[in-house]
Symmetry: C2
Subunit: 217 residues, 2 copies
């Protein structure tokens, strides 16, 4: 049973317009990261971007929506139509949120047992030459495992996250993500995940997450 | 002895213009994340941002500079004037790079023994309400520990990274970062770090980094 009203058409229009502006911003981030442009072109781009920021800043709200659904263990029951896509319940996430320009092009989907996903990361997410930044890999794992927990109705706070980097994760490579629930022990939720490329695991993670009163049913 | 020429004034102008455009983009990311703006305002912002991206895209280069100095163990000797600020040797980093719009407002400084830093993270980096995203914390630690290694002349690839979240890391709080080299054992470099707020550690990390032929002297 839902405790939230269905979104109004105005809310839908706002979210769609925000998602479109976020996507344009992602395009800008990528273009700027890869541009060897003359200073006058960079200056013109800076002016346009500043103008866009100035348009938005007067509309700043003090209490932005922050992943409202993320801490509700029974989210899947509340929004059965969206429960299979973590981007819907983490809309502002810096990892999978369509409304957050920081989020890289990652898609996650819950198949009823595991959260699987794909990603292809470009230059803004680079670490050593040709490789994805190790910290970006850890960032993705935290989200992947956290989303796995939410999809299983055991959303929880990260207690420990351990990432093992087994081989280079290539930039611009087609990456496969896999997250699964290992076991639950009282308040502790143990979740694991892998990132693979061309059929080989490049990195794996183990997380121990803690259910709190906020996240328990 | 340096194997690189001093940057030309044209290169300096390019970097400064890129840094300014990146800073404007950070401002845009923050404004968009916090804006409850009408769709027509969001649409206008989107158009401006797309126009900026279109200006830059024709200047795309195939081989962007990717943290050129990061893998050089003797970087400190090569660039003694910049060796104390990881932002200088990771200029395009998604964590501390002034030329990468993704990088949050983090400053790191090597005091000759430890890498210390400060950060204050806003809504784009949010996880649970009022808290920094656990994955962003892991991202920061990977960079903090990696920079610590480079500053000690033992730049290396991340092998494992383990993060322990001890209490909530508050959004918009003044955070203190501390990274240090624990020990070196053959090719393995063991580095640790903490993130603190108001004098209390909120999260700590242990990393094992592997020196390769690429990163060894």
């Amino acid at each position: 049973m839902s405790t939230e009203a269905e979104p109004t058409s105005a809310q839908v229009a706002h979210q769609e317009a925000t998602a479109a502006a976020a996507e344009a911003t992602r395009r800008l981030i990528r273009a700027l990261r890869l541009a060897d442009a003359p200073p006058d072109v960079l200056q013109r781009a800076e002016d346009l971007v500043a103008e866009a920021a100035e348009l938005l800043e007067p509309h700043r709200v003090d209490h932005p929506v922050v992943m409202q659904g993320a801490l509700r263990a029974d989210l899947g029951n509340m929004h059965p139509t969206i429960s299979k896509d973590p981007a819907d319940f983490f809309p502002y996430s810096s990892v999978v949120g369509p409304l957050n320009p920081l989020s890289p092009p990652i898609t996650l989907h819950f198949d009823g047992e595991r959260v699987r996903g794909t990603a292809s990361l470009e230059a803004p997410y680079a670490g050593p030459p040709g490789m994805v930044h190790g910290g970006i890999i850890a960032l993705i794992f935290d989200e992947l495992l956290g989303a796995t927990n939410v999809c299983h109705g055991v959303g929880a706070f990260t207690g420990t996250l351990s990432v093992r980097y087994e081989r280079p994760t290539p930039l611009r490579g087609e990456l496969e993500l896999d997250g699964w629930l290992e076991r639950i022990d009282g308040r502790k939720v143990f979740s694991h995940g892998t990132i693979s490329h061309a059929g080989e695991v490049t990195a794996r993670a183990e997380g121990i997450f803690i259910q709190s009163d906020l996240t328990r049913r």
